[in-house]
Symmetry: D3
Subunit: 130 residues, 6 copies
């Protein structure tokens, strides 16, 4: 898939690029958006969803980045790990926190496999709590 | 697999159960540990690892539970979702935060698939940042 | 793993290569088959299965390629995405269709995660319909 | 998570339910949406995305349902398989087509694993075609 | 999907059922095959493949069952875990071996996630060995 | 993430490196451990777990490597496949065994998808056996 650079982007795409740069206070858009731009309706819809989901709310913005990293590592998505690790560092993630985050992600993958493999029945206490 | 109840557990297993209850300040152990107890060396090693990984450190304990949920949803582990959602609520997660967390997890799974499907090259800026 | 090139392939492997080229009306076999050829029984069985599954039937051949892409993106298999995207283009997939296909795949991955995370009970109407 | 029934839904949620019923020409909304309604912003955003992505376009609507099933089977999402199989049948999928679809999905999962396991290098021809 | 019982199976399906019972020296076929029988070509092809792959060869039959369990746990396939755990026990797997197997599978899922998350470059020594 | 080389490793890390080399009778540690060393508590815990899990026990050491490969292929973890294939070859895996192993892994991925896709009910016989 081609990457649509900013200087050749049609107006519809350019408007999204400008909004990304203004919202994130950066001066370039990263490759993910340039790749999505080959299909403008998906670019517009995906950016509107990401902007809304990642906006300040009940959860801290850095926490949202850590969750994104956890999903991306579990999915094995190289690009997503690289971009959201950069995003988390820009929001203050320290090396100690990253080391500890990877330890939690690894442990979660291990106990997930054990719980599935043992077919552990869900405790009544958890069902009540949900 | 049988669940090893507390009153019939051999001393080695009982010691782990007691440590789980003391560490978490609860009066019962949940089924995951009772299932693992069928193979005591795995019970001991897994509990020691979980206790160390989830202990207070550079990351907030509630944040660690949110990361656990993110991995568990992505892995499709029903037991793990139930137990760590209960754990997160016990540590103060509100319904608003849970709704927002699921939105981030859903969005991460969508953009992971898009980045993989488009084979987006990692930006130099992210490589430098890593 | 070595790739077994056509000019050094033993007769058993050569026969499969010839059948691939005749069935697909191409003049070269792609690397997947050259890699499988290191273990001829797997090469023969896999090709016979692929040939039968992808042959014209109740589903349109292009539809089958789109389904293959959807699974490959979700599995994160780079080789499979590349080869079946090429296959779909050869059968008439347009750039617009590919953009739209990726949008559906991304959305399916998002709502899959949401439905699992929310533990949505299956509607009776769906059970009846199945 | 509670399911928000239609007769107790707040106006914001009710408006989405009405749009789902009008768009799909059905007289009830299914559980997925009633579960999402516990967090109205996610309900609104997800429905708007699904409505846009699944609308008539470059791909046939039944094809989009088949792609959804392929992803859902690969993700192991029981609810998603049930609901999108019902959706596909409503759009004309026959039992023969479903049998053949499952055969393709199974085969794709097998060759994905083989290609990854063999670390097959991507053919130059495929890179050119992309 | 309906399960096709033995007494109502058409001749083509009946022949596969008979071969399954003869090959495995059992007097009933399990549900997996009765479900596949709704689409006879997939039943025939899948059984022929399974019979060949699981036949005695360079790997011990019990080892093959353990590999099947490892894949099934990692995929989160409840049916497959149940059936292949039964199969492995029938081939001599002890409770100790099953406990240890689950420990290896859990650990593999953990270190897989850590290696992906850390983007560990492949050692030259491994590349040479491959 | 930086790789911590042996000559600049702090004493705590050096001790783990020395134990890895002594346990495995090798004269260098591979990159996975050098990457983990950026977070020493995870290095220590992971090595202690791997050493225990992979030590001689009820399962043959080569069998454990094959199980590791099966999980790694299913996870799509390039590094893990490379390193555990090297490990299995060092423990005596032949090319024929590797070819057959990949055939089993591929088949397991296929039947996993079929069983999930067909929503096969677990046989009573399997429930009894578990």
């Amino acid at each position: 898939m081609p990457l649509i650079e900013e200087d050749v982007a049609p107006p519809e795409v350019r408007a999204v690029y400008d909004d990304i740069k203004a919202t994130r206070r950066v001066d370039r858009v990263n490759n993910f958006w340039k790749a999505l731009a080959a299909h403008p309706p998906t670019l517009v819809r995906t950016w509107e969803s990401v902007k809304e989901v990642m906006a300040p709310g009940a959860l801290d913005p850095l926490v949202k980045e850590l969750v994104y990293i956890a999903v991306s590592v579990t999915n094995g998505c190289e690009y997503c790990i690289a971009s959201h690790t950069a995003g988390a560092r820009a929001k203050g993630m320290t090396e100690d926190q990253y080391g500890e985050l990877l330890a939690v992600i690894g442990m979660a993958n291990e106990t997930n496999a054990l719980a599935n493999g043992l077919a552990v029945p869900v405790d009544d206490a958890f069902r009540t709590a949900s």
